[in-house]
């Protein structure tokens, strides 16, 4: 087996544009779940609204990409408001069910034949990224010889996404050491205590939902840009679950948790995929075809991922870099 190839490709995934997009989504979830204790299971919905707002703005209506970005952010903010109003006064599990339902509503509506002429149905939209691609300063493949290499456009999206990650990490750090951030953390620990101190818990939760949702919307835009295409399958429920896994691997309520989480998560996911792919291919595979064929090999990474998420939550709920005292995760 080509260990060098597997390791370098895995590293490329771990640092690549997809990992960076999931990092953005997880930073949003970190503000919701890690700092405020809000169970948002609909991050994919925020991403879908962001991505589709930009791409349909350009591809369907032929308007400016940059105005589309602004519209996308406004739209995700409105979604957060619309979801927050009915549910933020309710128990945590209600928010979870409503957000996951809302994300599915958005995905199925956008992918429907009825709205085909606006959003392209299941095939989605293409050709909306010229404005972004024209800013690309790189014209050749960017690589560290023998370790990683990216095509020019991939490297450009990767660079921009990681810069956004840095920006939002800085923002999270600044916000969470401010008095505002301390109120959020105390809402997570004991909502009633905060209310008894005269704080408007509902307003704080709403602000947190909107900020995290906006970051999710940015993740959606970047996801559309790096694929140069968008379709509803990018925003399935599993996307949210992946973002949660990224967050929990790194450690919730840590500014750099999502960054560490996404690199580790995508490295391992890609490693397992390449390993089992390699172990089942060829004339004399390492694992006999009677036990596992190529299709089954591609599932092994998700089997491991599910198992890892369970074990992580049971034995190390604070993640790899988290602080157990910071996050009790006992909110009812």
């Amino acid at each position: 087996m080509d260990w060098h190839g597997i390791l370098s490709q895995s590293l490329q995934q771990g640092l690549g544009p997809v990992a960076a997009v999931y990092c953005l989504a997880a930073i949003g979830l970190n503000i919701h779940f890690g700092y405020t204790g809000l169970l948002n299971f609909g991050q994919a919905g925020f991403m879908a609204i962001g991505g589709y707002a930009v791409s349909s703005f350009v591809a369907t209506w032929g308007l400016s990409f940059w105005v589309g970005c602004v519209v996308a952010l406004v739209a995700t903010g409105l979604l957060a408001l619309a979801l927050g109003v009915p549910t933020l006064r309710l128990r945590a599990d209600y928010l979870a069910i409503v957000t996951i339902a809302a994300a599915e509503i958005i995905r199925q509506t956008i992918g429907s034949v009825t709205l085909l002429k606006y959003f392209g149905g299941q095939d989605g939209l293409q050709g909306f990224n010229q404005s972004f691609a024209s800013l690309n300063p790189f014209s050749t493949t960017v690589n560290i010889p023998g370790v990683v290499s990216w095509r020019a456009y991939d490297f450009w999206t990767l660079l921009v996404t990681w810069l956004l990650v840095a920006l939002f990490c800085l923002m999270t750090w600044a916000l969470m050491r401010s008095p505002w951030g301390r109120v959020l953390k105390s809402i997570r620990e004991d909502e009633d205590a905060v209310r008894s101190l005269g704080k408007n818990v509902y307003a704080y939760k709403m602000q947190s939902l909107i900020i995290g949702g906006l970051i999710g919307g940015v993740a959606g835009i970047m996801s559309a840009l790096q694929h140069s295409a968008i379709n509803p399958s990018f925003f399935a429920t599993d996307t949210t679950f992946f973002a949660y896994t990224v967050l929990l691997v790194g450690g919730a309520a840590r500014v750099l948790g999502p960054v560490a989480g996404t690199v580790i998560f995508w490295f391992l996911l890609s490693f397992l995929d390449l390993f089992f792919g390699g172990a089942t291919s060829g004339t004399n595979p390492l694992i006999p075809a009677a036990i596992m064929d190529g299709n089954q090999a591609s599932l092994m990474r998700f089997i491991f991922m599910g198992l890892a998420l369970m074990l992580l939550m049971i034995f190390r709920p604070q993640g790899i870099f988290g602080d157990r005292r910071e996050l009790a995760l006992d909110a009812r």
Partner: protein, 459 residues
């Protein structure tokens, strides 16, 4: 009492092993006969040129296996109404119409017309309105179209009759939803767990029944083929065991450690991803049908059509639901269950063995979910994400009725199930789940405790 981590991981391994053994057995038998139940169609041999063809295969779905329908004429017209091709189905029901070079064809819209007059006597399109299909080739591969042939459904009839016909389908679906929802609601009521892996309990039931169905040969008693009945019973028992294993290996140790409810919710997401991919590992990604469950001709009940299968499912699931609810209301164990749901600490203080009650709830809940999976598989076929696809509807039913109340889950499921089917009168069928989920959010806005929930502060 704290269970040591080692115990938990040992039990987790046991859970994994149990899943692998049980479903592994199923798939091992599944392999040789997996083609049974699929249509008799043979696709034309692939060509090696760059033309695009419209292909299809006509089979009479009333027959088992489906019988090819020959000599049916087709014409293909482009979007200006110009005829670009025609064809006739051959002895194996296959038709194949060339559109020309892919360069000229891609992106254009064509309409395939079926000549109704050329259908054999007694056969009709299942959907009589659908004599024409629009296709838009987008990839340079052939386009495959289907025209289901069988008894005509009531699609040509009036609005009220259509609604009635859809309501029958809705009733079947909602009763199956109710079984799954009742299980979820009972588990939530007694343990507080929002179980995102409940969908996998549904799929598990369907998968075990598929394993029994795919066993070589048939199971007969006194000359009657009872394979399906056996499949239902075996899958109910296997699901019950699976539920017990779930609780014993994973959730009970977690409860004893004092793991938070949010953490448990995340664990259930991990379990869901894990099990769903194991199911796909074993059963593949394709949709399966039970081969030995023939579907007899429907009965005409006045203006609507009812299949014996619908009647069986309605009667069977109603009986099961009523039995469970009566057991909850009347038996000692049922009363203990409600006591635990009401106040666990108080129930424990009065001498109720909470762990035992929760075990029973898991057994019954998983059995209900498994049964609903088997029956869903009978009505619409199943794949590895059968349960995951309807999980949100199950949640919607439970929340709509009131989290944790038994009657609420059933009423909620009836509302959601009927709404999903009947709403297709007005909204496109592809958006029917969306409608149900919107109902969920609206109800939460107006009545957060659900239809039958107690009016109490829930946040």
């Amino acid at each position: 009492m704290h269970a040591r981590p080692r115990t938990i991981s040992a039990l987790l391994v046991a859970l994994v092993a149990a899943v692998l053994v049980m479903t592994g057995a199923a798939s091992a038998y599944a392999a040789p006969v997996s083609h049974v139940g699929e249509s008799a169609c043979q696709k034309p041999a692939p060509r090696n040129d760059d033309t695009i063809h419209i292909q299809g295969c006509l089979t009479d779905l009333r027959e088992k296996p489906p019988k090819p329908v020959p000599d049916v004429r087709f014409t293909v017209v482009d979007d200006q109404g110009k005829k670009v091709g025609e064809g006739t189905s051959n002895a194996s029901g296959v038709f194949d119409i060339s559109l020309g070079k892919s360069i000229d064809v891609l992106g254009n819209t064509y309409t395939v017309h079926l000549d109704k007059g050329s259908l054999p006597k007694g056969a009709a399109l299942r959907n009589p309105k659908q004599v024409a299909l629009k296709v838009t080739p987008k990839l340079s591969s052939d386009v495959y179209v289907t025209f289901p042939i069988g008894n005509a459904t009531a699609a040509q009839s009036g609005f009220a009759i259509q609604a009635l016909q859809l309501a029958v389908g809705g009733l079947v679906f909602s009763l199956l939803l109710a079984m799954a929802a009742l299980g979820l609601s009972m588990i939530f009521g007694t343990t507080g767990l929002t179980n995102f892996a409940h969908g996998e309990l549904i799929t598990f039931g369907a998968l075990v029944a598929y394993g029994v169905d795919a066993l070589p040969g048939t199971i007969t008693i006194g000359g009657t083929n009872v394979t399906v009945a056996v499949a239902i019973v075996v899958s109910a028992i296997a699901s019950a065991v699976f539920g017990w294993v779930n609780d014993r290996a994973l959730w009970r140790p977690l409860r004893h450690r004092g793991t938070g409810l949010v953490a448990m919710m995340v664990v259930s997401i991990g379990l869901s991803i894990f099990l769903r991919n194991i199911f796909q590992y074993l059963a593949g990604a394709s949709t399966h049908q039970y081969s030995q469950f023939s579907s007899p001709r429907p009965w005409h009940l006045g203006p609507i059509l009812v299949t014996p299968k619908d009647v069986f499912i309605i009667v069977f699931s109603t009986v099961i639901l009523v039995l469970v609810v009566i057991a909850l209301q009347r038996t000692k164990l049922g009363k203990a269950t409600r006591a635990v749901a009401d106040n666990t600490a108080l129930a424990a203080a009065t001498g109720i063995n909470v762990d035992r009650v929760v075990s029973v709830v898991w057994i019954v809940g998983a059995m209900l979910a498994g049964l609903s999976g088997v029956l869903l598989g009978m009505t619409q076929g199943f794949d590895f994400q059968l349960g995951f696809k309807i999980l949100l509807l199950v949640f919607a039913a439970v929340v709509l009725g009131g989290l944790g109340t038994a009657w609420g889950a059933i009423v909620g499921a009836l509302v959601i199930g009927l709404f999903v089917e009947v709403s297709t009168l007005i909204i496109p069928a592809e958006l029917k789940f969306v409608g149900a989920l919107v109902v969920l959010i609206v109800v939460l806005l107006i009545r957060p405790q659900g239809l039958l929930g107690k009016a109490q502060r829930v946040g």
